[in-house]
Symmetry: none
Subunit: 223 residues, 4 copies
Amino acid sequence: MATSSTRPHQAHRAFANRKRKPELKREAVLLTAAHLFLQEGYRRTSMEDIADRLEITKPALYHYFSSKEDILVGCYSHGIANILARLDRADKSSGSGLERTRDFLREWMDVITTLEFGQCVVNLDDNELRPAARREVRKLKRRMDRTLRERISEGVADGTIRPCNVRLVAFAYGGAINSIGTWYNPLGKMNHTELANVFTDILVEGISVPAPKKERTKISSGG
Amino acid sequence: MATSSTRPHQAHRAFANRKRKPELKREAVLLTAAHLFLQEGYRRTSMEDIADRLEITKPALYHYFSSKEDILVGCYSHGIANILARLDRADKSSGSGLERTRDFLREWMDVITTLEFGQCVVNLDDNELRPAARREVRKLKRRMDRTLRERISEGVADGTIRPCNVRLVAFAYGGAINSIGTWYNPLGKMNHTELANVFTDILVEGISVPAPKKERTKISSGG
Amino acid sequence: MATSSTRPHQAHRAFANRKRKPELKREAVLLTAAHLFLQEGYRRTSMEDIADRLEITKPALYHYFSSKEDILVGCYSHGIANILARLDRADKSSGSGLERTRDFLREWMDVITTLEFGQCVVNLDDNELRPAARREVRKLKRRMDRTLRERISEGVADGTIRPCNVRLVAFAYGGAINSIGTWYNPLGKMNHTELANVFTDILVEGISVPAPKKERTKISSGG
Amino acid sequence: MATSSTRPHQAHRAFANRKRKPELKREAVLLTAAHLFLQEGYRRTSMEDIADRLEITKPALYHYFSSKEDILVGCYSHGIANILARLDRADKSSGSGLERTRDFLREWMDVITTLEFGQCVVNLDDNELRPAARREVRKLKRRMDRTLRERISEGVADGTIRPCNVRLVAFAYGGAINSIGTWYNPLGKMNHTELANVFTDILVEGISVPAPKKERTKISSGG
DNA sequence: CATGAATGAGGATTCATTCAT
DNA sequence: AATGAATGAATCCTCATTCAT
């Protein structure tokens, strides 16, 4: 994960040495920017804010990125790369539809909890991107959503998941997971693997105590 | 609910007649602003955008509101008033902890699906508010969260809800519900009451088919 | 011609009164800008320079024009409108090809000497324009050139102009006339009508004393 | 003329070999810069543009020239040196005033058509120069103009040129010749010597067919 | 009340130039 | 001698807000 020198509040260390690898500095910029974008919003974050936090000047930023939007694209790109890797991994998971759904949810949570770039993809306003980048981002979002729905459908087909309104379930789980970034503190007591497990259980198992007698195999599925 | 004169795209009608009550005009401004704030973001929405959509001039806006932030506060206020009314109503609901939790979730969804002001409270960035207003808004958010946790705890206490990490459950449900505004279209096939029911079921019941033999009364509750 | 209130150095008077017609103010901006663009160059002229000379602030400029390029387009447009009117007038001139050529040259000189906008069209760098506007401007320039060539060809055909390399003649005359703005002072002794006549004579008649004996009806026409 | 290694688009070759004489490299910079200055304008041409075209880095440029203006001065200096040599040559031409005027015009055209530096002197904005350099350039321009007027006056005195407004004639010819660079393509069908001859004829002889009977020895000379 | 006009305070971006290696 | 990195000083433009009528 992020090394100490790339934690947002220490990212400026990457700029201490003139000869430090530029790729490292680009990373430092992205990490700092992602942090600010998520915390303050893209519009409220000025190039000066980013530069100040990195303890460099504004034009130095432009040495590494051609524009503010280019930085934003960089954040999205990192997030996307990460997400795609996870999707691939989740794709290979075997087991019942339910198991595969759980695996997918856990991967998704990992995206959200381990790197700010994942949060950027799901929480920043992609209207700030230029059409080309926006299209790509939206395609990815749709793909994530579609993949989740497929997993759920598999489960319904193999009987490990109750028949349900798959679309709504996917929205519910997406909303729940994407919001994790707004309250999860990686430094808290619960590490992210544990969180992923508990959170997945909450979503998948629900909270209600199952009615003991009455067979309950179908939940309402309006819409 | 919203009358024809207050639908965002028709809000300017409130300004057609000089004799209309100023209160109506304030409402029209707020509704239009809420719409734009949610769609474009507070920062991306200029006073001119709001004025243009209302077919009035910028200074006319300032006749009704002293500043852009004042409009934002207005949006939050309406949302808060609505939310408080719902909380009161939900408070009076009787039944088991599970039932009361369900009622609360349904009320919350109503807040999100029926008026843009509710969405403003949960989806806009309260950092844009001045400290005083921000404190109030955050107090309300905490109260909503706390109330939900109390309901869940009641259910755990009376045995209708499985022991669980109440804090995480509240976050999960909050995230799921607050995100409804980003995809729910009031004009779609599913009306909001139906949505509230189905969505509540999804959250509360989960999707997994309960294991038939093994007694399952407790879900993992790390953290 | 330009009234006292629109002379560049007095253009700011148009802004003395808040209620003055906006069209007048737009004109004042354009006249001042044209003046500076021609004198300093488009790139060297900042919006602040223009605003300062008009004794207004920079954002006030943006009240009348959406961008610096918009001002440039305005200058070109005025020049183009003027030029087209002249072309029309010259088109109606009758007489021999030589006479019609002279008339055209005089009209062209009028364009250059009476209003700075004409000079803008021929002397500013149209690369500063966006493609659409640039195309239009270039079309006009080509049309001016083509019209001049047609006039000359008419003269050659009717025997009032010696056979010559029409293309080169048009370039020579164009260069000579377009450069007038760099040295002609409207406040000097020679008024612009007189200048137009004398200058046309110089170009058309040449300066050499015709060889008395040798018939001279053809000039070299390489290329 | 320009060797293959100094053609603007190949100028970077001068930098291919570390051992090449620095003076050659200075030349390469100047030629490339002159090309860009004329094509794009001084202001629109950045040091980076020049460096990029030469396939060197910006600081390398500063190794050869202390500033952008220094490069500009270099361009002017080359042009001036060339022009002065031509003036000297034209000065030695003998014959009638008319002949000497023709010779001068041809030399001037050579300045414009053979090297970009000549065009720099007459077409770039000398306001970009610092006062000292600017004064020198303007002195040269005045001298060129003065020399042309003297030639014409000689011709008038010896009867080979018709009495005319010498100042205006000089302006007309200057404008016509200086603009050659904007349309003349050295690679076209007409070589520059031929062009010089034809163009001189056009200017000096005019285009009108002389009235056969009426003696025509004086052209209007207002101002 | 309503409106066209005007403004001060930023914010993104560019660029000539210099520094450290 | 040459380079990647860095910077200060503009410059264009936006926007919340206020004025004058």
